[in-house]
């Protein structure tokens, strides 16, 4: 490893073939990622593995296979890692005894700050999330949005280099949301990692430098938002077409540019079609039907991935 490579690895969040199982249930599967500084959004439906990835980054859970380095630090070394990392989880809890202010101050004391310095930083963090009014009230009495913000404040209070935020925009009112996004941008411009998760692509695609699409614990696309969009559109889709004159329909379909592959079913009653353009494929099928071929039905064959894309980018 050359010095420059090491420097870039030291500055990135790196997943190398990481798998995590919950008992028999797959959490994430063979995830390899290299996330440079900037705003990165992990996008995928609920249950796709976003939180698992974030818990893995921060050492709350450990991978069954593979390795992770956060700017060169292993998540198994919280003493070093958590100095440069802040994580706002989705776990909507806080110690019963804590007010917003004491909660954050106590956390800061563990960094070795003096009480004065810790209180100063805690206050600054609460200011950043506009929670100073409620600072001295018990967290247990906060509204959901306020609890969301106090967790954000807790994550940023020690000015970390890597911020991991699980659904940070959930439950924020529009004003705070805009302010928060502005903060993310500011931090990203300072060279920090801002890694956030969302299950709505539109929510984050404008603010992210890169997005990582996840479904069923697997990374299905990664890169700048433009690359990912293209990747989504270029991704060939498979359809299962049921018809009486399978070979006739196949020969007609095969003349279309967007069709890359056709396989005949052994019963000669259906075919598996691979297409790069779903709209054109739909139109082509329409023409074929008008020409007198009986088409009994069309079913997407790779439903999972398709469903994710449609869910994320809003379908056709």
């Amino acid at each position: 490893m050359s010095a420059s490579e090491r420097a870039s690895a030291d500055a990135a969040v790196v997943f190398n073939e990481v798998s995590k199982f919950y008992g028999d249930v797959l959490g994430v599967n063979r995830v390899t990622l290299n996330i440079p500084p900037g705003i990165t959004s992990l996008v995928g439906p609920n249950g796709s593995g976003k939180t698992t990835l974030m818990n893995l980054m921060t050492g709350l859970i450990h991978p069954d296979h593979g390795s992770i380095l956060m700017r060169g630090i292993s998540p198994r070394d919280p003493e070093a890692l958590m100095r440069i990392t802040g994580y706002a989880t989705q776990y909507d809890t806080a110690p019963r005894w804590a007010t917003g202010f004491t909660f954050i101050t106590t956390g800061l004391l563990l960094f070795g700050y003096s009480r004065t310095a810790a209180e100063e930083k805690a206050w600054k963090a609460l200011e950043r999330v506009s929670l100073t009014d409620a600072a001295n009230r018990k967290v247990a009495g906060y509204s959901k949005g306020m609890r969301q913000r106090v967790r954000l404040a807790q994550a940023i209070a020690h000015d970390p280099e890597v911020l991991v935020l699980d659904e940070p925009l959930n439950g924020l009112d529009p004003l705070v949301r805009a302010e928060t996004i502005a903060l993310f941008r500011l931090w990203a411009n300072e060279g920090k990692h801002v890694i956030l998760s969302s299950h709505v692509l539109q929510e984050v695609d404008l603010i992210s430098d890169q997005v990582v699409l996840i479904a069923n614990g697997m990374i299905i696309a990664e890169g700048s938002i433009r690359t990912v969009r293209e990747e989504i559109e270029e991704h060939p889709s498979q359809y299962l077409v049921r018809c009486h004159d399978a070979s006739g329909v196949a020969s007609l379909l095969f003349s279309e540019d967007h069709v890359t592959e056709i396989r005949l079913n052994s019963d000669r009653m259906g075919l598996l079609v691979m297409t790069t353009d779903r709209e054109q494929f739909a139109r082509a099928l329409g023409r074929i039907a008008l020409n007198g071929h009986r088409i009994e039905g069309v079913v997407p064959a790779d439903e999972n991935v398709d469903a994710v894309y449609e869910y994320l980018i809003g379908g056709e």
């Binding site: 939180t51 003493e79 958590m82």
Partner: protein, 523 residues
């Protein structure tokens, strides 16, 4: 680890002292929970129970001494002259009015054993002529059982020498069994056990003997159940004897009723004299001094022994055991179920530091509660005793006992705390591990020496200043289980306990290092 050189951010990693500071910061936060957890308040109850018991005892003694004193003191020398067997009136005249006097009579209904017991004889004077003699049984037994049992029925004539019934034909109500027919009552013997009697439960119950010819009869002898060796309660209670010359018209010549009971009365009288220190309790039975107990109202030595017993059997074995279970087992799993554990995991601290902080908090709280509870109980135990007695106790270094009790309690928290902290990292439900550990600690006394050393109680018992009281008549096994001999010197016990604790904490630190947050459904 290798990441050290990567913390290039310019912020130094904490080492040594700063880690200790982290431990203390964590401990301070956890202390609040350790002391004031709502579901942990019962721990205070356990810790304070001995103090409450001794306080109640001391208070009761003080109140009693005060009341006895108010009723009048008796000189110690006079009390010393009391002897068993003295009459009540004499004692009262000599010693004076007692501070307390209570009396009662016990009445016992006793059977009049002079009647119908064993063998009864019935004389008719003058003799009457009879050929048939009939024994009618109207109430067959004192026990209430409706079974007539006659071992022998003898009839004598005017000369009173010859048993006229012997061997003569006898009839009667149906026998209980074929081997217990009426002939058995006229065979002249009683020594043959259950088959040497006439037995019948067929009402009306009667036994009739035919003398063969009209004879003058003068005396009857009836041998009842107990004459044949059976229980007295089976003796015939009420019966009568009839005679007849023709077997048709019978005349009653004797009646016997055993329904006679006597009331046996015993008077018991308790007198209490008090000389300001000792209490003399005298028991008079029917006006005579039957027994007496003269002992100090407060017995320091006895109280210390009771304290030793409560401390070893209740405090060490149960209170501290379960207290530490409650205080240490949930240090991690409690935060797991509250979903707050990740905040600690996200702090820039080694997992061992977190473990140490939590353990320190539990230890401080449990030591304050249980060593404090032990000291308080010892103080309350000492409190009611006389200044003179205390002074000599103190002069003999007795107050060191308090120190050792507190130390044993504190080290109990050290040991049991580490064990339950470790157990809490591996299992969530406390019932099974608690039962297993309790059993393990319980059978410790009968284990081979090597295994004994893997037990907290083994070391704690060596620290206790007074051996726990145990009935020396108890079987050896029980004695060993309850109070195995102190095995180690104090220094060895302390070192041994700390080594055991360190080993347990090392196991715990391995578990906590690989611990993962799992709050249920993960996405």
């Amino acid at each position: 680890m290798s990441a050290a050189h990567h913390s290039s951010s310019g912020r130094a990693r904490p080492v040594g002292f700063s880690r200790l500071k982290q431990v203390w910061t964590i401990a301070k936060v956890e202390l609040r929970r350790a002391f004031f957890a709502k579901r942990g308040l019962w721990v205070y109850g356990l810790a304070l129970l001995p103090a409450v018991i001794f306080f109640a005892h001391g208070l009761q003694v003080k109140v009693r001494a005060e009341r006895l004193t108010r009723r009048g003191l008796t000189e110690a020398a006079v009390i010393n002259t009391l002897r068993e067997g003295e009459a009540l009136a004499d004692v009262k005249a000599r010693v004076g009015k007692p501070a307390e006097e209570r009396w009662g009579t016990r009445v016992r209904r006793v059977r009049n054993t002079a009647v119908n017991k064993g063998t009864t004889a019935h004389v008719i004077d003058p003799a009457v002529d009879a050929r048939f003699v009939r024994l009618n049984i109207t109430r067959p037994a004192y026990s209430g059982e409706q079974v007539a049992k006659i071992f022998d029925f003898e009839i004598y004539g005017a000369d009173e020498r010859q048993n006229l019934a012997l061997g003569h034909p006898a009839t009667g109500s149906a026998p209980c069994s074929p081997s217990q027919g009426p002939e058995k009552a006229v065979n002249g013997s009683v020594g043959g056990g259950k088959d040497d009697q006439w037995c019948s439960e067929d009402w009306p119950l009667f036994l009739q003997v035919d003398l063969g010819a009209i004879r003058p009869v003068k005396r009857f002898v009836v041998k009842h159940a107990s004459a044949g060796g059976e229980n007295e309660d089976s003796d015939t209670r009420d019966f009568n004897i009839q005679v007849s010359t023709d077997g048709k018209r019978f005349t009653t010549v004797a009646t016997s009723s055993g329904a006679r009971y006597a009331d046996e009365r015993t008077e018991y009288r308790d007198l209490v004299y008090f000389d300001g220190r000792r209490e003399a309790r005298l028991l008079f039975v029917d006006g005579k001094l039957d027994s007496m107990r003269i002992e100090p109202l407060l017995n320091f030595e006895e109280d210390r022994t009771i304290f030793a017993g409560i401390f070893q059997y209740f405090y060490l074995r149960l209170a501290i055991f379960f207290g530490c279970l409650g205080m240490f087992m949930y240090l991690f799993s409690g935060e797991m179920s509250n979903r707050t554990l990740h905040y600690w995991f996200l702090a820039p601290a080694r997992r061992d530091v977190l473990l140490a902080g939590k353990y320190a908090a539990g230890l401080i709280a449990s030591t304050v509660i249980f060593a404090g509870g032990a000291l308080l109980a010892f103080g309350v135990m000492v409190w009611p005793h006389e200044a003179v007695e205390l002074q000599s106790f103190r002069a003999a270094g007795g107050m060191a006992q308090a120190f050792w009790y507190a130390s044993a309690a504190a080290l109990g928290c050290v040991g049991y705390g580490s064990v339950f902290l470790a157990v809490g990292l591996y299992v969530r439900n406390p019932i099974v591990p608690a039962a297993v550990l309790l059993a393990w600690e319980g059978i410790n006394g009968v284990l081979p020496p090597v295994l004994q050393k893997i037990s907290i109680l083994y070391y704690l018992q060596s620290l206790c200043p007074v051996p726990a009281p145990i009935d020396s008549n108890a079987p050896t096994l029980i004695r060993l289980l309850a109070s195995p001999p102190a095995h180690a010197s104090r220094a060895a016990a302390i070192v041994g306990l700390l080594v055991l604790t360190a080993a347990v904490l090392w196991i715990a630190s391995r578990a906590v290092r690989t611990m993962q947050i799992s709050y249920g459904a993960e996405t």
